[in-house]
């Protein structure tokens, strides 16, 4: 049975799951949920995801939402197939979880409102909060200095190998890099090196093609 992913292929959170499924060579089917017409807030989708967000998955009788939980589930269930995303030991896995959690509390909390103001609002004809953008850029700079330092002595966020810690950052990073504030990453040598390496992966290239980027 093929995994059904409910979401929009251009949206960051569904992309997180798609990237994991591609890295793990797991077959899937996308059921398009149209964010532009707020399909995610309609009763039919609320049955799958009660907070009215994407993605949600159905795998036979099994249902799950929250993109990072879905990615961890498939990375665990198919640990013997495709890329190993969860580290080689319990201790290594916990470091992978550590940097994946940093993505939620330190990275996404700043990048999400940045992308909303720089990309989404203009597209919807709404005004960008320029003062907020400046404030967020300063805060993101401080956070990216810490990332840059980590990547000075580690090839990937959690060590020598590409893991969930790197993967989980990529969709939102992809959006950030397509804005005119991408120098915030490019000017940091280790972050830039890391971004070039992770985006050269075949699964990422496939995802970008699917999303039409």
């Amino acid at each position: 049975m093929v995994v059904k992913l409910y979401g929009q292929v251009t949206a960051a959170c569904p992309q997180r799951v798609l990237l994991c499924l591609l890295e793990k060579e797991i077959e899937f089917e996308i059921v398009h949920i149209d964010l532009d017409t707020l399909e995610q807030k309609r009763p039919e989708h609320l049955l799958r995801q009660p907070f009215g967000q994407v993605p949600a998955i159905e795998d036979g009788d099994f249902k799950l939402f929250e993109s990072r939980a879905i990615a961890r589930y498939y990375a665990t269930k198919y640990s013997d197939q495709g890329t190993n995303l969860l580290g080689k030991s319990l201790e290594h896995r916990a470091i992978v979880d550590q940097w994946a959690d940093v993505e939620v509390g330190y990275f996404n909390v700043l990048v999400h409102p940045l992308v909303m103001n720089l990309v989404i609002k203009p597209r919807l004809g709404e005004e960008c909060d320029a003062a907020l953008v400046e404030e967020l850029k300063v805060k993101l700079g401080v956070v990216l200095d810490i990332y840059d330092n980590q990547l000075a002595s580690n090839r990937f966020l959690a060590g020598d190998e590409f893991t969930m810690a790197d993967l989980t950052h990529m969709p939102a990073m992809g959006y950030l890099m397509r804005t005119d504030i991408n120098r915030i990453v490019k000017d940091r040598a280790n972050m830039n090196r890391w971004w070039e390496e992770v985006t050269a992966r075949p699964a990422w290239k496939k995802l970008m093609k699917m999303a039409g980027f």
Binding site: E66, A69, Q98, G105
Partner: protein, 215 residues
């Protein structure tokens, strides 16, 4: 060498502490004086580069991020104490789902309430009334979803208590206490019953008894 948890008097470290106590794991705590800026000193930044609590040191091994610590402890000590990760990969998936809901959806508005109601004056920034009102509305909408879910499920991930439930303890304790918004929990029948259940667990009572912020 015994596992050490840094910053026990604060809320996020209590996610790690309650998990350790539930699993019956020996540990020590190391106070971190946030008022004196100890968390911004090089010695602490070497353990947690973002300068926040908790940090955990287990022999040579260092780990931060409270929910990552919870997962590490629950996995490492799987065979002792309650199984906080569920019994199957699918049950674990449900645990991870609600642990992520806590982190991405429940925690952010509650953190705003915590900072602006409890800590604004102490930390020296003006309390933002508009943000407090918006955050309460957001949290209220989230709790409505929890109410519907908990009317069909005893605990968040199913009929067993898990990391997902425990992760909610420290900041919800602030919500019903010093934040002064206990009604948000008490006015919702199933959320209230769930809260009474998880907050009366011996491990949580012990956490509060030993590590509450000194008055």
């Amino acid at each position: 060498m015994v596992l050490k948890v840094y910053g026990p008097h604060f809320a996020s470290p209590k996610r790690a502490l309650v998990t350790l106590i539930e699993k019956g794991v020996a540990f020590e705590t190391v106070p971190v004086d946030l008022m004196k800026g100890e968390h911004k000193q090089p010695a602490y930044l070497a353990l947690q580069p973002f300068g926040t609590v908790p940090a955990v040191v287990d022999g040579d091994y260092k780990i931060f991020e409270s929910r990552a610590v919870m997962r590490y402890v629950a996995e490492k000590y799987r065979s002792q104490g309650p199984d906080l990760l569920g019994k199957t990969v699918e049950e674990r998936g449900q645990v991870e789902q609600w642990l992520d809901v806590e982190a991405t959806t429940f925690h952010p508005p509650l953190l705003n309430l915590t900072l602006h109601i409890m800590f604004a004056s102490v930390m020296g920034f003006p309390s933002d009334e508009k943000l407090i009102k918006e955050s309460e509305e957001k949290l209220s909408a989230v709790l409505d979803v929890y109410e519907a879910h908990l009317s069909k499920s005893k605990y968040l991930a199913g009929d067993f208590v898990s990391l997902a439930d425990l992760a909610h303890l420290p900041f919800t304790d602030y919500l019903v206490g010093p934040i002064g918004k206990a009604y948000m929990i008490k006015d919702r029948k199933h959320v209230s019953a769930w809260w009474n259940d998880i907050s009366s667990r011996p491990a949580w009572k012990e956490t509060l008894e030993k590590y509450s912020f000194p008055a």
